[in-house]
Symmetry: C2
Subunit: 345 residues, 2 copies
């Protein structure tokens, strides 16, 4: 088949890939480079500080997280996307990694190429209401769970996030701790993770940035012996923490549309003990790559089962299901569907 | 000449015209109806609650100030403008009454008709920076003062705001008070107005909504005898207040791009005593329709001159310079310039 001419519109927050962390920018970079590797003609619309093998269209030299004069930031998102729409006749498809989510609708019926989008969050009622004004706008959902939230809208494909499994090094012989890694918010369940670790009598390392909720709810429970806060970690330290953990604790309270941290831990061979919320069952295969539980009691009761899982197998599953190229191929298939629908409209 | 096919894009905040107050919506309504009266084919993009002789394209039944579920409001501005851009081939020109100011840039190079805009505020540095990315985007400035702020951008015309001079009734015989009417902000100078009135030994009525600055700085100076707060007033009460005033006090501290209240007072026959900031000299003719002073001392010293002005003459000047039809004709001329430039681009 013909290679596709793809305008890939990144957020304008930071360079792509990000210097430090940034899951949307990381995923955007992996998808961009993967599409180039598959022979597609990709133009990345991203800050000039980005590094890519695609053609780079840098409407701005830096991102708005790097340059406080770039305000209001929503305008920079809008104008970065507009830059792609202005060149739409050069592309078969425009894909927006939706940072300021609903702006792409403004171009749905105006651009000379289909404008598609990936959301990286669980859309709220107000957004859904806006999107229903443009029911033809094509989405690529990141999970069945997110597709369910987009019910009634045009979900052209469901493609799980990919991660760079080469750099999430497999560790067959972990240390003897559990790990919580994510943001300190009530929805992520750090307090519940501490509760589980205490009931299991196991050490727990907590890795995340110090947010308000850390000081309010988490810090009082940290004793620096059993419950240890290791701070915010960079990529290399994160991989080491994953690899060294007996299991990742993911007692998530609010449903999430994916759960990148689950896939990352699994790529290092570390199974996850997770609550059955949001997209968890799409990422964790119960009894193979982790345990999926209804509540904390069930998690504590069934924890031995998680600890006994084969780390080799966990790694293999992660590579097979969350590698970059499966994601890239999933996107290409969705892109071709969207282009065909657009031509036939 | 051929009538123009005009897409007039209102803010989505409230109906056009507004039920209560709203200077942008009022001006949008006057311009729309005036364009229709001149025989142009106008489509008004505004909430369904609007009343117009133009064709109404109501993307939304109500405005976001009337319906709290319409959030984020910026998206509604964007999609209302997008609705016009989607129909661009039906119009000779699109004109946006810029409520969420810079979004129109996103369509400058995408729409099949020129997208022009009127700003109703003094643009800040960040906005100017954004606009410089689209130096061809056509503006209709509301004053020389605003055009100066838009230096380096494409100002296709300068057209003063019009007011409905029929409804600002002339009052030849005023009462014996001065008037401050506007928002209670430091920039509008209510404290300075009180100072002037006290130094003159004259009564001052203050009419505006109770804002924080009122409680902080204004209320302590109100004695209900010489300095009287009359609250926020509706249109009819406003006209009566203007007509009954010996003079409007306008000791504005921050430069403004117009000064609608000056024109409104003048239409009722009431001269203005104003500080020489922003666009004041474009609205008030010193010695004819009011007095323009460098500072408060000069205002107090020269106040007799303001009180002695001929109210008939003040009214006549206001009608001649700030009537609706002069504004409408100014816009049509600017629209024709923009359309010609766009066709020749």
């Amino acid at each position: 088949m013909q290679p596709l001419r793809i305008a890939h519109v990144a957020p304008v927050a930071t360079s792509v890939p990000p210097v430090k962390s940034g899951s949307v920018e990381t995923m955007t970079s992996l998808l961009t480079e993967g599409l180039v590797a598959r022979g597609h003609d990709v133009t990345l619309f991203a800050p000039g500080s980005s590094v890519t093998r695609a053609k780079l269209h840098a409407a701005f030299p830096n991102g708005y997280r790097e340059d406080p004069t770039m305000w209001p930031w929503e305008m920079y998102e809008l104008l970065n996307l507009a830059a792609a729409v202005e060149r739409a006749s050069e592309f078969d498809i425009i894909h927006y990694e939706a940072e300021y989510y609903p702006i792409s609708l403004a171009f749905t019926r105006v651009a000379k190429a289909p404008v598609s989008q990936t959301l990286h969050h669980a859309p709220d009622t107000e957004e859904i209401g806006l999107w229903h004004r443009y029911p033809e706008a094509p989405f690529i959902a990141i999970s069945q769970e997110q597709a369910r939230l987009l019910d009634g809208l045009h979900v052209a494909g469901i493609v799980h996030h990919g991660i760079d499994t080469d750099n999430f090094t497999f560790n067959p012989v972990p240390d003897d701790y559990l790990l919580f890694l994510g943001r300190f918010t009530p929805g992520k369940g750090p307090v519940q993770a501490i509760d589980v670790a205490k009931r299991l009598g196991m050490r727990l390392l907590l890795a995340a940035a110090e947010e308000q909720y850390y000081h309010e709810a988490v810090k009082p429970l940290v004793d620096d012996k059993q419950i240890v806060y290791v701070g915010e970690v960079d990529f290399d330290a994160k991989v080491k923490l994953f690899g060294g953990a007996r299991a990742l604790l993911y007692p998530v309270q609010a449903g999430e549309p994916f759960g990148l941290v689950l896939a990352e831990a699994m790529a290092c061979g570390t199974p996850a003990a997770a609550l059955d919320r949001g997209a968890v069952r799409e990422v964790v295969e119960d009894g193979v790559t982790g345990g999926v539980f209804d509540d904390l009691d069930a998690m504590v009761d069934g924890f031995d089962r998680v600890l006994s899982l084969d780390r080799d197998r966990v790694r293999q599953e992660a590579v097979a299901r969350f590698g970059v190229m499966p994601m890239v191929d999933g996107y290409v298939e969705a892109f071709r569907t969207i282009i065909a629908q657009w031509k036939a409209r």
